[in-house]
């Protein structure tokens, strides 16, 4: 309850007129960002606690969230290690064919499987230079692994597996080559 209240309080402050319109002084803007980030951390803690109740008691792992996906960066997916991916649909309706983009680093082969261990088609697309050069982006990702999740139920969680291999597998993600129309 206290963790949730932190976000409630932050949202209360953000409803102040200068936060809504962006007319606050710069140092206030920085403080608003800090306040929101801190509240979001508390909410992530709640999600982690919820998972711990659902999962076997022996499991102690924590979830990593991807707050830098808006600049095509995610330290967790860029490590070149296999991962389980959870997708939570906060909507009240089904999501069909939702496209997921994960930043990854070059030099490995990637494949995606669903929770029934069925292979899911996936492709690799380069991250454009103008995104890679965004100031402050500290990322080794030069490509995005793109795949579709067929269905995510309302308020439901879908699990996908991202496998990272050193050698190419039959169902490894295909790399899409750029085509210059003028050529």
């Amino acid at each position: 309850e206290m963790n949730l209240t932190k976000m409630r309080e932050a949202m209360g402050v953000m409803q102040h007129h200068d936060a809504v319109t962006g007319t606050e002084k710069q140092h206030v803007a920085f403080n608003y960002a800090k306040m929101l980030d801190s509240a979001m951390l508390q909410c992530r803690h709640i999600i982690n606690e919820s998972y711990k109740k659902l999962l076997p008691k022996s499991s102690t792992s924590e979830h990593e969230f991807c707050p830098y996906l808006n600049i095509s960066s995610c330290p967790t997916t860029e490590m070149g290690e296999s991962r389980i991916i959870y997708l939570y649909n906060p909507l009240g309706h089904r999501l069909i064919n939702h496209t997921v983009r994960l930043p990854i680093k070059n030099g490995y082969y990637y494949r995606i499987q669903d929770q029934n261990n069925q292979s899911v088609p996936s492709v690799l697309v380069p991250i454009p230079e103008f995104v890679q050069k965004i100031p402050g982006r500290k990322s080794v990702a030069t490509k995005e692994l793109v795949f579709r999740v067929p269905v995510i139920e309302p308020l439901g969680i879908t699990t996908m597996y991202m496998y990272v291999d050193k050698n190419e597998q039959p169902n490894s993600a295909i790399e899409i080559k750029g085509e210059n129309p003028d050529d």
């Binding site: 906060p90 454009p128 103008f130």
Partner: protein
Amino acid sequence: NDDKSKWQVLTKNLIVEFYSNGTISRIFIDKLHQSISISNEFRLYHGAGGTGRHSGAYIFRPNEQKTFPVTNKIKSTFFIDRKYHIVQEVHQQFDSSFVGQIIRMDKYNDNVEFDFVVGPIPVNDQIGKEIVVRYKTDLENDETFYTDANGRQMLRRRWNYRPSWKYNVQEPISGNYYPVNSRIAIRDEKQSLQMTIMTDRSQGGSLSPEQINGSIDIMIHRRLLHDDYFGVGEALNEPGVDGHGLVIRGKHLLLLNSIKQSASEHRPLAQQMFMEPIISFTSIESNKQA
């Protein structure tokens, strides 16, 4: 496409046509057998400075009542996944190094996504600048457009007009800008077509002053060098992480449909945009997870 100078990319019900330089040229609506010409460009206003009221955090006030092109030259690369059709996108790098864009189309959806990166806005010439993205079509919208009211009903806006008093226009550009919280639209009643642009955050929008029929302008980034004397006491000049100015990345979704069908398309899509699935990773072993 038979015309080798053009590329066509298919979505669920749309065919999006590009010129050979990678700029968007036309959208065909397959099920309605209709099409519109369309262009998409980045333009800028020079913010008012000097001795009068400045453009700033509280007010948008251009120095001249016209826009300037951000750039003309463009380098485009198509990425088309011909096997699984997961990815169909065009990467556009403009010759000015501070603007780049990816246009994405999806076989299972009927929207065209414009994912742009803008900044840091150069101000070496000591002129503040306000960047707009323009979607220009041949739709006849009778100088009228629609903006949402905090995601609720769509409000009708008319160029140089207020419904409850006689409007004497002092500021032709800023007097016609309205808040866009989630979407802005124009309608062509004769063709029964509506183009809706969904925004990923609150922005300002209007018709284009250079073509008040068929166009939508949305302001996506601003960098100004003077305080506007409305109380904040400083210029709207965010330093960004490296102190050289803020870089923004955002996206617009363009929808084109019959007027009748539009609301059923843009309303669920707005919720979907604002509540995108959250991705998280875990190190739990897969057998335990199962």
